[in-house]
């Protein structure tokens, strides 16, 4: 799916699969690349471009960093009152189990 209808690189590049990947294209297909869903020919163009472009290598690293950092975000726990009421519910449940 095209991100925008008239992105410059799309107009300019046509659909020659052997053409060099532009940086502006790379930043739009990077998620497909990381997800392993980029078609094989585009994957080769992506890798070939990365080999020669420090800016895009940095970009890829930054996207990987964003993913890693997101995975380190901590979540706040439930309210102590909710936790207490859950533990009381557990005790009631346990007692009802043993009575059966």
């Amino acid at each position: 799916m095209a991100p925008t209808s008239d992105t410059d690189w799309q107009k300019h590049m046509g659909d020659d699969t052997l053409r060099e990947m532009a940086c502006q294209e790379l930043v739009e297909v990077i998620t497909d690349y990381l997800e392993g869903t980029l078609p094989k020919s585009d994957r080769a163009r992506f890798d070939a471009h990365l080999a020669t472009c420090p800016g895009c290598r940095e970009y890829v690293e930054q996207m990987r960093a964003v993913i890693r950092l997101s995975g380190s975000l901590t979540a706040k726990s439930i309210e102590p009152a909710t936790r207490d009421s859950l533990l009381r519910a557990f005790q009631r449940w346990r007692d009802s189990q043993t009575r059966l």
Binding site: M1, P3, T4, T7, D8, W9, K11, H12, M13, A22, C23, Q24, E25, V27, E28, I30, T31, D32, E35, T37, C53, P54, G55, C56, E58, Y59, E61, Q62, M63, R64, A65, V66, I67, R68, L69, S70, G71, S72, L73, T74, A75, K76, S77, I78, E79, T82, R83, S85, L86, L87, A89, F90, Q91, W93, R94, Q97, T98
Partner: protein, 227 residues
């Protein structure tokens, strides 16, 4: 928390249970072992609440959804056969309850429709690239990203940076925020996200792409100001 050893390592260690100890936990839970229940509640409630808040907007409602989920676990644990992991079962109960509440709150939004309207603009501003009619390097960086050079690795240790990321995530359009939360924050595989949100694989990727790209841009701005 170690973050340098691979993409999901820290997330996986914390967020996926070990199947053997899980069977033990389930056994102890059925036996009425309060310590086992307490451990489960303390371990999974933060993630459950974060997930609930993806579907319902009010914090108190999210609390209730988490509470209902644990009560459903107690009622259902006798029938739980362990075909899926306990964690998967838990999150499935929560997702169903949270969605029901979202319908009651009239916040029900079809992701398949909403998602694409929210797909806005390119991942990186066109001004950062050379024009498409540039004689030698059309569409190549004119302003390449400034190297973060390890700053992101130290970032996890810095509360301020993580706050910037957290706020950035909160400000994403809802469908992007939901997909990024499930995929990158909670570490769900793509197919589970698609199933939970009734999204196609392609649309899931578009939303993930927009969300991640936006977060990168927010951090880039923050690191640039910081430097």
């Amino acid at each position: 928390m170690p973050v340098t050893n691979g993409r999901y390592e820290s997330a996986v260690t914390l967020k996926t249970g070990d199947r053997t100890s899980e069977a033990e936990l389930i056994h102890r839970l059925r036996d009425g072992d309060e310590a086992a229940f307490t451990w489960l509640v303390d371990t999974y409630s933060p993630s459950l609440k974060r997930l609930a808040l993806v579907f319902v907007s009010v914090d108190a409602v999210a609390e209730e959804v988490v509470q209902e989920t644990w009560l459903a676990v107690l009622t259902g644990i006798g029938r739980f056969e362990g075909r899926s992991s306990l964690k998967t079962w838990l999150f499935k109960i929560l997702t169903n309850r949270a969605k029901t509440r979202a319908v009651r709150e009239k916040r029900t939004v079809r992701f398949s429709e909403l998602g694409l309207e929210e797909v806005d603009g390119p991942a990186v501003s066109p001004e950062r690239f050379l024009p498409s009619d540039h004689p030698s390097f059309p569409g190549h960086w004119s302003t390449p990203p400034h190297p973060w050079s390890g700053v992101a690795e130290q970032a996890v240790l810095r509360r301020e940076t993580m706050e910037v990321l957290r706020r950035g995530l909160e400000k994403l359009p809802r469908s992007q925020r939901t997909v990024v939360t499930l995929r990158d924050v909670e570490g769900w595989p793509a197919h589970e996200v698609c199933a939970a949100l009734e999204l196609s694989e392609a649309n899931q990727r578009v939303l993930l792409h927009r969300g991640r790209s936006r977060l990168r841009s927010i951090l880039e701005t923050y690191f640039a100001e910081d430097a």
